[in-house]
Symmetry: C2
Subunit: 342 residues, 2 copies
């Protein structure tokens, strides 16, 4: 039997239609999600496997997307080892005691299986429920996680992390070495329990110059990719605002590069030189079904007919998105994404 | 007598050293600024010509930069015509009644000389004080101003403005036509009273796809440039995250394109095909003098020796910047920027 279309597209193999899923498809834009979740921290919901499983499945049922993505967060492993992370609604991850010096390295011990039983149990529950739809596991890339741990809160300037990496590159490298180990363990555990693809979110790589990316982010990302290569599952590397970085990111070893909407899809694909995922601006899904469909067709027109393409947004689903628009986007991608292809 | 080096560099003419100034050089990072300003709204300070003149001159005296830029804000003309704008410290421009429909067009009448006597008086005072250093006047580009007026507050998603332009492009065009008229009047007034160059801030153009920029932002920017072309002063067009847009922006008609740090300076220059300004990451100025100087040298190394280059940051000075670092950056640019050139 053939692998699911999403997995084949990740490998650049022949597909009968363009696969589609949405970053943040599980979450705030779904009324069934808001009905299920209370007002507690997202980390509490993630800690409840039955609840996290249900939230993971909601968008698969509603949209008929070609992949599920685990309901989780990139700070989950760091919360699990007691680094002191919370996710504040409307703000993002906040660190009680941010990473400040060598003395904080010991707070970043490697993961054990026991630390993340809630996550691996959720993976198992989801995989039991899903028939053929593959589950994507994920983690934050070391640079992006480091930026949270060092800054202590979401930032626009990345002032503290950039100052650290330029003033104390040895300490920065030690920090990233710890994060590589944790990230590899976290990703391997998800695959061991049933995830069939992995996405690595280097969300903030786009804050860096090319030189900085090459020196301070790429090597750690490569080590993560090396650390999961033997598992044989497709890997996706994604960041925002990475147009200039795509040729470098392409060398990190992922199967697929995710791209946002700032770079045209055909040009992004040329820079990536491998399968790509993206790149509809999530804001284009806010103006009703007709506009969402028109925007979807613009992206599909640039996607070509050669496969090696996964439809997605260029960033996460915005909270105010009407699910009816995403339903129409999925239909359009499935019906028209490979029009004319046998 | 030769024009000042900044003006010649803007025109791509021969220069004896690389000129340098800093976006937001007048402002929060200077202790003499904090001593002078109270805690009131920045719009109150801008409304006081003697105070705004002094704030404009402070960085010229301290840093010996090659250009002054008026202490002002892109919302000033909209505040002046009573659109109901305030600038909230730590947040940015906030609009009491955001632009919502055709009925709001009449709230955007053209500027009269009386509306902006505080600005033109400041320009006159500054020009009297400056010996040969040219003063840069500025305004917000129509798309960026529209995003503030429509969103009502700073945004990361630009959801409201993007929905407006795709769902009601006629209304969007009418809005931008109003903003073109106001922007041209505002820029012409600054030149009439002594400004010798103009910068147009299309700060948020980088939120758009290439197609959107071409359709929804570029034409209005071109009309602004056309509206000041007869004045014969150099013009600079700048936005953040515009790497993909530079070839399009190059067609807007400015003398110079400003670029941020995401694109390498030599590559940005190739895309611009005209003089460029930039592109040191402001975060590189937060790690002390030695790191600031090293980062400056990296930028200068990519600048080449052919002139047509103005050193600047890739975005505004960050509030926590130590002025000693910017002093060292200016020295380095002046001493080393054209090393080996006659």
């Amino acid at each position: 039997m053939n692998d699911p279309v999403f997995l084949r597209a990740c490998r650049g193999e022949a597909v009968e239609h363009v696969p589609v899923w949405f970053m943040r498809q599980a979450g705030r834009s779904l009324p069934e999600y808001r009905a299920l979740r209370g007002t507690g921290s997202i980390l509490e919901a993630i800690a409840d496997p039955a609840l996290a499983c249900e939230i993971t499945l909601q968008p698969v049922r509603r949209y008929g997307v070609d992949a599920a993505i685990l309901f989780s967060d990139i700070v989950v492993p760091y919360h699990a080892i007691g680094f002191g992370v919370d996710v504040v609604a409307g703000r993002g991850p906040v660190i009680a005691r941010p990473f400040r010096g060598a003395q904080d390295l010991e707070r970043l011990r490697d993961l054990t299986a026991e630390d993340i039983t809630h996550v691996t149990r959720t993976v198992e529950l989801v995989v039991e429920e899903l028939a053929t739809t593959p589950l994507i596991g994920f983690a934050g890339a070391p640079f992006t996680v480091a930026s949270y741990l060092v800054e202590g809160a979401p930032t626009r300037d990345f002032a503290v992390i950039k100052t650290l990496m330029h003033t104390d590159p040895d300490l920065f490298d030690q920090l990233l070495t710890r994060l590589v180990a944790i990230t590899v363990s976290f990703l391997r555990a998800q695959v061991a329990h049933g995830a069939r693809a992995l996405q690595l979110f280097d969300s903030w790589a786009g804050s860096l110059t090319r030189d900085e990316y090459q020196r301070f982010a790429l090597p750690a990302t490569q080590r993560v990719m090396d650390g999961v290569a033997d598992l044989g599952v497709p890997t996706i590397l994604f960041g925002v605002g990475t147009g200039e970085l795509l040729p470098l990111m392409s060398g990190a070893g992922s199967s697929v590069l995710g791209i946002d909407w700032h770079v045209d899809l055909d040009e992004g694909r040329r820079r990536a030189g491998k399968p790509v995922q993206g790149n509809l601006d999530p804001a284009r899904c806010l103006g009703g079904v007709d506009l969402g469909v028109a925007a979807t067709r613009e992206v599909l027109a640039r996607a070509g007919r050669d496969g090696g393409y996964i439809f997605n947004l260029g960033h996460g689903v915005l909270p105010t998105t009407d699910p009816a628009v995403l339903e129409a986007v999925v239909r359009t991608v499935h019906d028209e994404g490979m029009a004319g292809v046998q």
